[in-house]
Each structure stands twice: as C-alpha cells, then as structure tokens.
C-alpha cells in the first residue's frame, strides 16, 4: 500500500456497515466500496475483516441476507437492515458521537 490508511477501532466497522445499509440493501462488495467512497478513500475495508463482520452482525439479527441479482446480472448475496438493526444503528451512532465529542474535547484542550 502506497499511503498509510488508518485502522478502524474495534467495533467501528459494525457501525459503518449498519450506516451503509441504512441507505438501502447492498451486497458485500458494494458495502466495502460504499464505505470507501463515503470516507473519500481515507479508509480501506479489508475483505478478511468485512465478511466475518457481516456474518457476525447477521448472526445477531441486525441485518438479514437474501440472494438477489447484482447490477451486472450476477447472483449476489444482498444484506439489508432489520428493525433491530435500525435501533442498533441509532444507539451506536449516539454512542460514537458522544465518544468522538469527548475525545475531541480532550485533544482540543491545551
């Protein structure tokens, strides 16, 4: 990799996945791409971490998967947010905002 991209803190990937899926159902590749696009290339989501995270979130019941047809006409597994997932997203978002606010305050102090 030419340029060092920051690692995601533990658990943050879940939040990003949920956020991404709140915009609409999407397959795994699309989720990775979307996160990268939204972060304007500042984040790289590795396949080796993305899929275990997807399976884990699915297991918890926050997202569910269904086989569908992708934009290029191939069979793909589409993930979509469940109602529980939507709630979880709200909670995690609040939690994250709190945390980043606190961290920012500390870092901003002189």
């Amino acid at each position: 990799m030419s340029k060092k991209k920051p690692d995601l803190p533990q658990g943050t990937l879940d939040l990003l996945v949920l956020k991404t899926l709140s915009l609409g159902p999407m397959h795994g590749y699309g989720i990775g791409q979307r996160i990268q696009q939204l972060a304007e290339g500042m984040l790289l989501v590795e396949e080796g971490t993305l899929y275990p995270a997807l399976y884990r979130i699915e297991q918890r019941g926050w997202i569910e998967a269904e086989w569908g047809v992708s934009e290029n006409g191939r069979r793909a597994r589409f993930y979509k947010l469940t109602r529980g997932g939507r709630k979880q997203l709200q909670e995690e978002k609040q939690h994250w905002e709190h945390l980043s606010l606190a961290v920012a305050k500390i870092l901003g102090a002189v």
Binding site: H27, G32, E46, E47, G48, Y51, Y55, S70
Partner: protein, 880 residues
C-alpha cells in the same frame, strides 16, 4: 434462543449449502473487484490475482463464516461424538465390557421400576380412585373381614361416605359347552360398581333390589370371560350362565381392566349377596350372623369435601355404638378405614421397595465400575490431553470430550439395558410371589423407555465426571515430562474410593442375601407338624346341582374316588380334606366345651377330613385314636383335636372323652376321640392355633381337596387322578394340581423371591467389583513397574513385590468391606421384616459373606500381583 438453536441445527443439516454459499459470495466479490481493477486499466490476469490476494486465506474465512452462521458448537459436538466412537471402537473388548456393565445396571433398574410402577405406584384404574376407601373390622390388631349385619348398621348410620358395598372373592365351576372349568369371581352388594364408577360395555349394573333374596339370580361378567368362554356371542345378555350347576342370568358385561377386588387372580364374574341369604343345609344365617365376617371388606367412597380423618372419626364412633348395642359382636377393637389402593398394594409395597433399593445398589456398582475403567483409560490418555492442552485446548473442551465419550457409552449401554429390561420384566412377572396384585398390568411402555433414557444420562454424567475431573487436575508439564510413570498417584485416591465403594455395596447385597438364605433355610426346616414331601394335592369340587349339599351322594363320590386311588401303584395313602395347611384357606367355628366355664369368645379352626388324612400328612397321634372309617353318619359324632386345642380348652380334664358343641360342623354333642400334633396351618412363621377335625362322613362337604402320598412319580399319579375323576363323573373338574411342597414354597414366596433376587444381585455386583479391582490393580501395577524393577534390582524378592500389590488390593477391599458392614448395620431394619428367627446382623452370615468377599478380592489381586513379581529389572532398566 429458540431461533439460535434452530440456526445451529440447520447448520448441521445444511452444512454443504452454507459452505457453498460462502464460497459463492467470495467468488462474486473477487469478480467485482477484478472488473473494477480492469476498468482502471489493470491487465486481466493481474487484476484477478490482486482480487484473490485481498482475501488472504480462503479457508480461514470459510471456517469463520461457518462458525458465525451456526456451525460451531454443533459441529464440535458431532465431532466429539465421532471422536468418541472412534476411540471406543479402538478398544472393542473394553467398550463391550463397559457397555454390558451399564446395560446390566440400567436394565435391572428399569425392569424393577416398571414392575414397581405397575404394581405399587399406579393409581387404581377407577375414576377419582383417590376417594375410594375400604373398611375392615379389626381383630387382634389385624384387619379382618366384615359381617353382613355390621355392614348394614354402618351403612345406615354413616353420613360422610357416599355409599357402601361388601365384597368377597368367590370361585365356581362354570359349565359351558359341556365343559367344566373353575373360574374366579366375587360376591358383591349392588352398589359396588356404582361406587367404582364403572360403565358396563353391555347391559346394566346391579339394582339395589337385587341384593334381596328371591330376586332371581343375576350375574355380571368380564369381557375376558365373554370372549374366552362365551365366544363373544352377541346374545350374551339374558344368557343363562351355569355356575356350580345353578343358572345365573347375564345382565351386564364390564371391562376386565375394571375388575374389583383387585387381586392376583383375575375376577371374571360378579353375583350379588342375595345368594348368601338363600337357605341351605348350613347356610342362610349370613344375613343375621354378626360374628361371621363373611365378606372381605366394605368398599366405599368419601363424599366430596370429606377428609380421611373425618371419615375415620365417624366410622369409629359408629363401630363403637354397634359394639355397645351388641355385646359379644366382634367389634370391640373397632374398624380400620383406609384408602382402597393401600388395601391392594400395602402388603407388597415393602417387598418392591426393598427390591428397588437393591437395584440401585447394583446400578451404583455398575456406575462405579464403569468409572474405574474409564478413569484408568483417561489416565492412559493423559499424554494426549496434556499435549492438546499445551497446544491451546481449553480444559472445558477436554472435559466435554470425556463427558461425550461416557455419554455415548451410557447411551449404548442404556439401549441394550432397555432391551434387557424388556425381557427382565417378563422374568420378574414370572418369579414374583404369585399373590402380587396387578402383575398382569406390567408392560414395557414409553415411560419405561423415558426412564431408561434418563437413567442413561444420569449414569453417563456420574461415571464420566470422575475421569473428567481427574484429567483436569493433572499438572501439564509433569505429565509431558514423566509419561505415565507417576500418574497412578493422581488417580490412586479416586480409584481407591470407587473400588471400595463397589465392594461396600457388594458387601451390603451379599450380607443381605446370606442372611435371607439363612432365614429361609431355618423357615424350611422349622418343625411344622406334617411331612409335605411326596404329597400330591388336587381340588375336586362337586357341582351342587347333581351332588346336593350334605347328602350321602357327596360322601359316596369321595369314598369311591379314594378307593380307586388307593389301588394305583405307587400310592401309599390317600385322603381328602377341605383346607390344606399353608394353602391360605382357613375355617373357624365357635367352640363350647360341655360342662365347663367358657372363656367369652372361644373359637377354633375347623377342618373336615377323611380318616386317612393324618396318616397321609404324617401328623402324629398323641392320645386316644385317629378317626376311623367306622365313624359314619349313623354313628356317634366324634372329633379329633390338636395339642393347642387341648391346652387351651381342655386343660382341666383329660382331653379324650371330653364333649364339645361346635358352631358349625353338626349340631349334636361331639366326643373328643383323640389328640394329634400341632400343624403350622396358617404360615410357617406363625404359631399353631387350636384346631378341631371333623370326619367328612359325619358332615359331608362338596368342595374337597384330594391328598395323595406316593412313593412314585407325581406326574403319573396326577394323570391317573384326572382319568379316575373323569371316569366317575366327567362334569367334575380337577383343579389346582400341585404338591404340598409347592404350597410350602408358595407360603414363603416373598421371602424366597427376595432371597433369590438378592443372591443374583449380590453375585453380579461381586463379579463387577472383582473386575473393577482387577482392572485398577493391573493398571496400577503397570504404572509402578519401574518401582518394582528398582526394588527387585535392590534385592527384594518376588514375594516382597507380590506382597506390595496384594497389600494395595486387599487394602482397598478391606476399606470397602468395613464400610459395607457399617452400611449393613444401618440398612438392617429394612431387612428384618423378611426374616424368620434370624437377626438382620446374623454373625455367621456376615462372617461368611465377608470371607467370600475377601476370597474373591484376593483372587482378583492374584494375577496382577504375579505379573508385578515377574517384572525383569534388567529389561526394565535397559528400556529406560
């Protein structure tokens, strides 16, 4: 939670599909990535490679994905089971031995549980059977029958009980299609079936008016009788059933399952008490005779909301009033009201519970045995476990695997055990005391299966936990470094405890078996006043229709039969009697000695016999003479009494020549012609009671039992007997052909049953304990090989080494024996009910059991000890 279990279960069944889906998803991802890369100008092959690299190890992702999607735990457990099966298959002999041990424990236990459930635990088959009560009169502390006048008075006075009905068992000769057969039935009063809430299959129940004399003869039959004897005829209602030569109109058919009273003998017909009121040569007084407890008991039902205590209180007041109004009536001691189920199973319950306790001892020994062998096996594999632990396996993972192994074993054993139980149930039903009620309802069912499964889980956990915890405690580094050499120290304590436990329980069973055997021997060799060997008996009842009661025709039939039988080769003496010793039947009568002050209530047991009875049974003559053929009906009436009678009633005078009046057996005064020895008539463990013998010729009875003393083959004589009776009159049935020895054994059937069962149990547990001891000791000897080699090299001789092993083995046995004897002392009181003139802690029996136990233990130690002594120090030290 449920959803998660479902997901997991699905993961096991749809494993292939899940894996395929994960792979497909990955392929799609890589294709998309490659396409993107190519769009940005990369060459196709380079793009594909880059896409593949992004994923790293496909396998890892695959496994992770499968784990997350529910495969994990389930797959681990199926893996554990597969591994367990593989390990168990590797040692087929040991596995078979373990499974057989478990099967034995579970099989016996399940079988006895089924018997206990059907005989003791199940409620009576009637609606709201908890409210059904039974009332007995009480005499000398024992429950007794009930007389009709008492029953009527109770019924009239009672308020807390719904209704009342008397009942008594009965048997008759049923003549159907020209064939005569003895059938069991009951004489009941009309309310009985209504109290039981029985609905007839056909026809109706009795009406209260049918209790009254002159209401015609009605009978209700069981559907078994209808099927087997009446060929399921459709016109059964109104059919005339010939019982003892008298026609009874069939008015109803009821299910056999709802027969009452509940006895070992199936009751197949019911007639009303009206028959008891009909005049007969000596009957007809049952309605008025307050002192004659004709009926077995009174059946009744608590009114809704009435408690047992209230009903008891009311009944005792009523009985007290009746006793006051009729001094001399047998009610001075009151009445006993108890739940009907108690009346049925109360007597057999202690036997069954003793049996159940014994089978738990067997199961515990089987468990301990399996645990010992598994423990040894787990220790042998301790290197494997240590290695796996070192490679990062969590302890819980190892314990789980050991538990799965023992559970697999337990279920294999349990399955075989259930099959074994299925056969054993039939065996138990066959060898159980014949008067055990409800034996016919014992059968293999779902509950039995469930019980076996529960027992398997329990045993699997119990005998799996010991090796599992032993595996946990082990010190990793030491094990890896030292190998198996010093391992025996870590298992020595648990295995010693297991072996000692097995021996302790074997001791309890062995001691109990021997104490019972001693008691049984004593009971069989107690002087009983007659010689039962080589005596054949058979009930020959004459149908009253063709042999009027009390007529000379009755006397003539029996005289002719005796005459014919005397001529049969091999027959020494032959006679007839109404009730035989130890047959469970009895008769009693009021006694009045002419010219003496009578005690208030004098009664004696009454026997009707042919003169040769005493010679046939070898009852000794003490004074006077035996009855003779010359004591016919036209001669002065005589009786013969036993020693107990003479001692009780004729103390002040010379017995022979005294005169008596009997309440039954002829109205005239009777001369005492002789005194004979006492006979234990009621039970071998009871005392002799006063008895009076009346010659049959002077009071003919039509329901006699033939007794034949032979020197020849009993079966041949039985055949001749049947042929002779058929020749004299084909309508007369010959029933109950058995020897007097049979009666003797039947009378002690519960003790005999318990004795044999305990002997069998004790032998099996002793064998198991010996195997366990042998296994543990063999293993420990292998572990201590090094030590023995060093000792031998340092100059110890073979005996020294053998002594070490024997000390270890016999030490365990001695600990177990001591614990067992202490347990025995604690359990003694459960045994004492079955013993005759024997203490439950009978010293010779206990000493004998201990000796047998130590001898078997020594034998089990011998082979390992000899192997230890044969260790070659040179080979061993070189091998290091």
């Amino acid at each position: 939670m449920l959803k998660r279990i479902l997901t997991r279960a699905r993961a096991v069944w749809r494993k292939e599909q899940i894996h395929a889906e994960i792979a497909e998803e990955r392929e799609f991802h890589m294709a998309m990535r490659a396409a993107d890369l190519m769009r940005s100008g990369m060459a196709a092959s380079a793009a594909n490679q880059a896409a593949r690299r992004g994923f790293g190890s496909g396998v890892r992702m695959q496994e992770q994905g499968f784990d997350v999607r529910g495969g994990g735990l389930m797959e681990d457990i199926t893996g554990d089971i597969r591994l367990a099966l593989r390990i168990l298959r590797k040692t087929p002999v040991k596995t078979a031995a373990l499974a057989a041990t478990v099967a034995l424990g579970i099989g016996i236990n399940t079988a006895v549980f089924s018997v206990m459930k059907a005989v003791v635990l199940d409620p009576l088959p009637f609606a709201k059977s908890k409210d059904l009560m039974v009332i007995h009169q009480v005499s000398k502390g024992e429950s007794e029958g009930v007389s009709y006048p008492n029953f009527e008075d109770w019924r009239a006075a009672n308020r807390s009980l719904e209704a009342m009905a008397v009942y008594a068992t009965d048997s008759s000769t049923l003549t159907e299609d020209g064939q005569a057969r003895r059938v069991s039935g009951a004489v009941v009063s009309a309310d009985l079936f209504r109290l039981l809430r029985v609905t007839p299959l056909r026809g109706r129940l009795f009406n209260p008016s049918e209790d009254e004399p002159g209401s015609g003869r009605q009978v209700i039959i069981s559907d078994t009788l209808w099927r087997t004897q009446l060929h399921e005829r459709e016109d059964v209602l109104g059919h005339s059933l010939l019982l003892d030569g008298m026609g009874y109109r069939v008015i109803g058919v009821i299910p056999s399952a709802l027969a009452f009273p509940v006895h070992s003998d199936a009751v197949n017909y019911w007639i009303t008490v009206a028959g008891d009121a009909e005049p007969s040569p000596w009957g007809g007084s049952i309605r008025k005779s307050r002192g004659y407890p004709r009926y077995e008991a009174v059946l009744t039902r608590l009114k809704p909301g009435v408690t047992l205590a209230q009903a008891k209180a009311e009944m005792s007041v009523i009985a007290g009033n009746v006793a006051r109004e009729h001094p001399g009536a047998d009610l001075a001691e009151g009445v006993r009201l108890s739940a009907a189920i108690e009346d049925v199973v109360g007597r057999i319950r202690p036997l069954i519970w003793t049996l159940y306790a014994a089978v738990f001892c067997v199961l515990a020994v089987a468990c301990a045995n399996a645990a010992t062998l598994l423990l040894v096996g787990a220790v042998a594999r301790s290197r494997e476990f240590a290695l796996r632990a070192a490679l990062g396996a969590r302890p819980s993972r190892l314990v789980r695997q050991l538990l799965v192994e023992s559970l697999v074993l337990a279920f294999t054993g349990g399955a075989c055990g259930a099959l074994l139980a299925w056969t054993l149930v039939a065996v138990f039903a066959k060898i159980a005391p014949p008067d055990t009620p409800r034996l016919s309802t014992v059968h293999a069912d779902g509950i039995m299966l469930l019980y076996a499964v529960a027992l398997s889980v329990m045993t699997g956990l119990v005998f799996g936990v010991v090796p599992a915890t032993a595996a946990l405690r082990r010190d990793l580094v030491g094990t890896l470094k030292e190998g198996a050499r010093n391992l025996h120290f870590s298992v020595r304590r648990p295995s010693t405890m297991l072996i000692a436990g097995q021996i302790a329980l074997s001791t309890v069973l062995g001691c109990s078996a021997l104490v019972l055997t001693g008691s049984f021997w004593r009971i069989l060799h107690t002087p009983r006043g007659f010689d039962p060997h080589n005596v054949l008996t058979a009930a020959v009842s004459l149908p009253p229709a063709s042999y009027p009661q009390g007529s000379d025709k009755v006397t003539r039939f029996y005289t002719d039969l005796l005459e014919q039988m005397r001529r049969v080769p091999g027959v020494e003496t032959v006679s007839v009697a109404q009730t035989l010793p130890l047959s469970g039947q009895n008769n009693s009568t009021r006694v009045e000695v002419i010219g003496s002050e009578q005690p208030q209530k004098a009664s004696a047991d009454l026997r009707f016999v042919d003169p040769d009875y005493f010679r046939t049974l070898r009852i000794p003559l003490l004074d006077g003479r035996y009855p003779e053929a010359a004591d016919r009906s036209d001669q002065p009436e005589i009786v013969v009494v036993n020693r107990a009678f003479a001692a009780r009633f004729l103390q002040a005078r010379r017995p022979v020549g005294s005169r008596l009046h009997l309440g039954w057996g002829g109205d005239g005064p009777k001369l005492v012609a002789g005194v004979v020895g006492d006979v234990l008539h009621n039970a071998l463990d009871a005392h002799a009671t006063p008895e009076v013998y009346v010659p049959l010729a002077q009071f003919p009875i039509d329901d006699m039992t033939l007794v034949v003393r032979t020197s020849g083959d009993l079966a041949g004589v039985a055949r001749t007997l049947r042929a002779e009776v058929r020749r004299l009159d084909a309508r007369v049935p010959v029933e109950n052909v058995r020897t007097l020895d049979d009666y003797l054994l039947l009378s002690v059937a519960p003790q005999r049953f318990l004795m044999w069962v305990l002997v069998a149990f004790a032998a099996s547990t002793l064998l198991l304990a010996a195997i366990g001891l042998y296994g543990a000791l063999s293993y420990s000897t292998v572990c201590r090989r090094h030590e023995f080699g060093v000792r031998l090299a340092l100059g110890s001789n073979m005996w020294g080494v053998m002594r070490l092993v024997l000390q270890q083995g016999l030490g365990m046995a001695a600990v177990g024996l001591t614990a067992g004897l202490l347990l025995m002392a604690a359990a003694a009181r459960f045994l004492s009910g079955w013993l005759y003139q024997t203490s439950p802690l009978d010293a010779p029996s206990l000493a004998c059991a201990s000796a047998i136990l130590m001898a078997v233990a020594a034998a089990a130690c011998l082979a390992p000890a000899r192997r230890a002594a044969r260790v070659s120090p040179v080979a061993l030290l070189r091998g290091e």
